[in-house]
């Protein structure tokens, strides 16, 4: 469904991605793993067109999206959930969801605010609350719900467990697995190996902006040497 090939990206003068290649299949959850600064977030932003790739291709459903503006990539069916959450703090929960709303492609059950509240019941209890007065966990749920309102077929989830209490992380994992059951494909980035293991099918290990290793999540958990090499601090 998503095929990234030889992706390069720069922040100003700094060369961050050095030819990342990876694939996400229909209905699959792939997890990007790597240390701080390895290029996980930049990979996502680059796929999304927020950091325009300087070279390489981003193929989604057979269509090359590299270099397209972010809004076209979103309309093509890729949803992006940023690491910093980036909730519209002045807008209420309802209004945040309204910003994300886009028509669903044919044959897909469209997301509505009600469906989002089913997935994250907490949000249903605070529809009129401004985003700025929500806890970190609530904001994380809202940012995912907001992106879902655009009816994406592939979700880019940047460190959804970061900074959350363990019980919220668990709930987040349940929600992500529920989304997978609905047929959504997900590219995830994580530092929390336990969380990644709970949700992902496959892992892509990246280091200094390059893909170093890819394996099924189970194989990675069994392979101490690889984990030590790419993940331990």
């Amino acid at each position: 469904m998503l095929r990234v090939e030889g992706l390069h990206a720069h922040y100003g003068q700094a060369h961050i991605l050095h030819g990342i290649s990876l694939e996400v299949a229909q209905g699959e959850i792939v997890c990007l793993l790597g240390r701080n600064g390895a290029g996980k977030s930049t990979t996502m932003k680059s796929i999304m067109g927020l950091v325009p790739p300087s070279a390489g291709c981003v193929e989604f459903d057979g269509r090359d999206l590299a270099g397209r503006p972010a809004f076209e990539i979103a309309r093509a069916g890729i949803g992006y959930v940023p690491e910093e959450r980036r909730i519209f703090t002045e807008l209420t929960v309802e209004e945040n969801l309204a910003v994300g709303r886009r028509p669903a492609p044919a044959g897909m059950k469209p997301w509505t605010p009600e469906r989002a509240y089913e997935l994250f019941p907490v949000l249903g209890e605070m529809r009129r609350r401004p985003g700025g007065r929500m806890s970190g966990g609530e904001q994380q749920m809202l940012t995912i719900a907001r992106t879902l309102m655009g009816n994406p077929r592939l979700l880019l989830l940047d460190e959804p467990s970061e900074g959350l209490a363990p019980v919220i992380v668990e709930r987040m994992a349940t929600a992500i697995l529920a989304l997978k059951r609905e047929g959504l494909s997900i590219l995830l980035s994580e530092q929390n190996l336990v969380f990644a293991n709970a949700v992902a099918d496959r892992a892509c290990l990246i280091e200094t902006g390059q893909l170093r290793h890819t394996a099924s999540m189970a194989a990675l958990m069994a392979d101490e040497a690889v984990r030590a090499r790419y993940l331990s601090v």
Binding site: A70, F71, E90, L91, E95, V99
Partner: protein, 614 residues
Amino acid sequence: MDSLIVQALNGLASASSLFLVAAGLTVIFGVSRIVNFAHGSLYMLGAYLGWTLTAHGPLAQLGGFFGFWGGVLLAAAATGLIGAAIEFLLLRRIYRAPELFQLLATFAVVLIVQDLTLLIWGPQDLLGPRAPLLRGATQIFGLRFPRYELFLICVGPVMLALLWLLFHRTRFGILVRAATQDREMVAALGVDQRKLFTSVFALGSALAGLAGALQLPREAVNLHMDMAVIVEAFVIVVIGGLGSLGGAFLAALLIGELHAFGILIFPRITLVLAFLVMAAVLILRPHGLMGRKPSGLPPASIASPPLPGTPKWLAQAGLVALVLLLVLPPFLGDYTLSVMADMAMMVLFAASLHLIMGPGGMASFGHAAYFGAGAYGAALLAKHLMAPMEVGLIFAPFAAGIVGLVFGWFCVRLSGVYSAMLTLAFAQIAWSTAFQWVEFTGGDNGILGVWPSEWARGKLVFWYLSLALCGLGVVLLRRVLFAPFGMALRAQRDSPLRAEAIGIDTVRVRWVAFAIAAAAAGMAGALFAYGKGSVFPSFLGIPRSVDALVMVLLGGVQTVLGPLFGAVAYTGLQEQLSRVSDLWRLVLGFAILALVLFFPGGLAGALRAREERA
């Protein structure tokens, strides 16, 4: 008592139209982060279009009610379309350019609209029609009060309510509010920003146009409406808090009443009252009455590359230029020499502003204050103490530096547009001091007879003197940039937090830079005074501050040589154009637009880019 009530109602009526203009400005700023200098021009266009459309528009044949009100609404719609066209044709191409560059582009639009309006409607003031149904006066508390003013009083709150509904009850409005906070995220959610920006520009421009057209029955339409209203609107938007409609409304009421009563209570300082209030508000509430500290991510800024060393060919070219400047003048005429001396002063003036804008990372919209402080410092010494030029030239940088220390103390504590607006406020305060304190400064008549000493009267000698002092000033400013102080200055611009963490007192560094820049500008100002033999309040006026901005931006903020090129190019263009054509604003405006579109790094930036490619 009666007159107080009438004044209060007058104030409310002015507040309504001020609010309309400010509302458009604040909405446009919120979404696009563009400080739209051309907003006043749109207001003026609305008034002129309204004048034409109420008399000759498609609905004018109907006459009376439909003729007038139809014409006003058509004028607003037409202004909205013009705003959308400006966004579509111009601003859309430069959203990725640094913020101040966009300011320069909108300033070019101001110049172009000025001359186009002059071409179409002519220089004379135009009297608008009366409003049907609202002619005459009504009795209130036994007082006669014009009906049209009462109608205007209602327009403000009604428009506020309509805008509130628009922004809270429609998808468009919600998207606008979301984009005001984080437009990149809005794009990532699939919203086409280009359409959003164009429609926001159309809305804001239509509001300005409506305000302009509604002024028709109140005052004559003239060519000065644009600058007058834009400054007021900036003040209101900043007092209210950028992006806050409610704040803009409150501030408009405040300023409207302030004008109405200021004339009664403080007739001597009416011109400066609004700016005093703005300065006070900003000092107490750095983000305006209802503004909030920008939440979320800081706006994406373009990292400035390190300052380049001087390439060999450039040093050689500079040496050749210097030799020419020393050897050629004896063969040049007096006119050319005085133009060249002016250019030298402008180079120093621009270089001083560049210190705080480029390496300092602060914008100043009121740099003329320090230029004027130097000029007035020297002139006042000459007038009251008969001081010779030598004393004046030594004293001027100190005078300007002290003014810079005082004003700067406040300005460096704010950030971004707020800081820039505070510099503008202080400059206006300085200007009105010169303008209204007639006994001391001569007021509008200025101070005459500020001549150089006997030995420097000849144009040739004065040129060498200007070259020496301005050259010295520029060299010193350049030394500052590459000294440890300059590095600290650049460090605090690039990352205030990290700079603080390694022990740099960022506020103090900015403050000192501000004062150094002020002193250098003061030297340029004093020379300018001796060159002209007189000083006038216009030395501290907004147009001169804008000149400095344009020179720096034209040359390129990110290079050391930028202000030099910018000053020479701008002064030269202005000088040449005003000699050959009455429409110099039009030509200059298009020249600036061409530069903005094709050389987004300024003249020096373009030069450097060429060199890097080679």
